[in-house]
């Protein structure tokens, strides 16, 4: 019984990770890759950790597993946000199929400050969307 649960959990976990890796390889632009990978991998690893918690009946192991999941859940979105922002800021282009970029022109180039309202005096409002497939690869 436990074996089946373990097999199931681990399979789903491993597959999540596999999807994440396929995703990061296949997705056409950086933001999509980022978007796809962070959650799937967190989910996958989380499931694998639950396997471990079940496998080792110790409190300590369960605590560790929970701790790891907790850390992943806290840190993964923050990391994604940090790197995504950096990417956007350094002008990493969006996929050509992107339909809208409401962030365009909102940054203050000097201070890196981000406005919530659109100041019309900002000069550069053109979204950073790639024209061709090659631009993002």
């Amino acid at each position: 019984m436990i074996d089946i649960v373990l097999a199931l959990l681990s399979t789903v976990g491993a597959l999540s990770i596999l999807f994440a890796s396929i995703g990061i390889l296949r997705m056409p632009d950086f933001y999509l890759r980022l978007s796809v990978t962070v959650k799937a991998s967190t989910l996958g690893v989380g499931l694998l950790l639950i396997c471990a918690a079940i496998m080792f009946p110790d409190v300590s192991v369960t605590t560790k597993a929970i701790a790891i999941i907790f850390f992943l859940i806290i840190t993964a979105p923050i990391g994604a946000h940090m790197i995504g922002r950096a990417a956007y800021f350094t002008g990493t282009p969006l996929w050509k199929g992107t339909i809208v970029d409401e962030l365009a022109g909102m940054y203050n180039e000097e201070t890196h400050e981000l406005d919530s309202e659109d100041d019309d005096d900002e000069d550069d409002d053109t979204p950073n969307i790639a024209k061709t497939e090659e631009e993002t690869e």
Binding site: D3, L6, A7, S10, T11, G13, A14, L15, I17, L18, A20, S21, I22, I24, L25, F30, R33, L34, T37, S41, T42, G44, V45, L48, L49, C51, A52, M55, F56, D58, S60, V61, K64, A65, A67, I68, F71, L72, T75, A76, I78, G79, A80, M82, I83, R85, A86, A87, F89, T90, G91, T92, H112, T136, E137
Partner: protein
């Protein structure tokens, strides 16, 4: 009858290994540094998974300690890269 050990050895771990290699292809291709950073982050996360499975497989909980460290710290690298990639734009 397939044992759980064999299942881990011949299914789960290979899947994870293949995942790592796929991610590595992205790291190899880039094109931007940010892509590579994200790939690195994913490799590490996958690695946590691998360590977890390996720890189950070898019945050694001490390896989970390594996984904790990885989970806690990998994030720092990403943050550092992000921070300085952004800063680099300034100069």
């Amino acid at each position: 009858m397939i044992t759980l050990e064999a299942y881990f050895d011949y299914v789960i771990l290979p899947i994870l290994a293949i995942s790592v290699m796929l991610v590595f292809i992205r790291l190899f291709k880039g094109p931007a540094v940010v892509d590579r950073v994200v790939a690195l982050d994913l490799i590490i996360t996958t690695g946590i998974g691998i360590i977890t499975v390996y720890s189950i497989r070898s019945n050694q909980e001490v390896f989970l300690d390594v996984a904790i460290i990885l989970a806690l710290i990998a994030f720092l690298g990403t943050v550092a890269f992000a921070y300085y990639i952004e800063k680099q734009k300034d100069d």
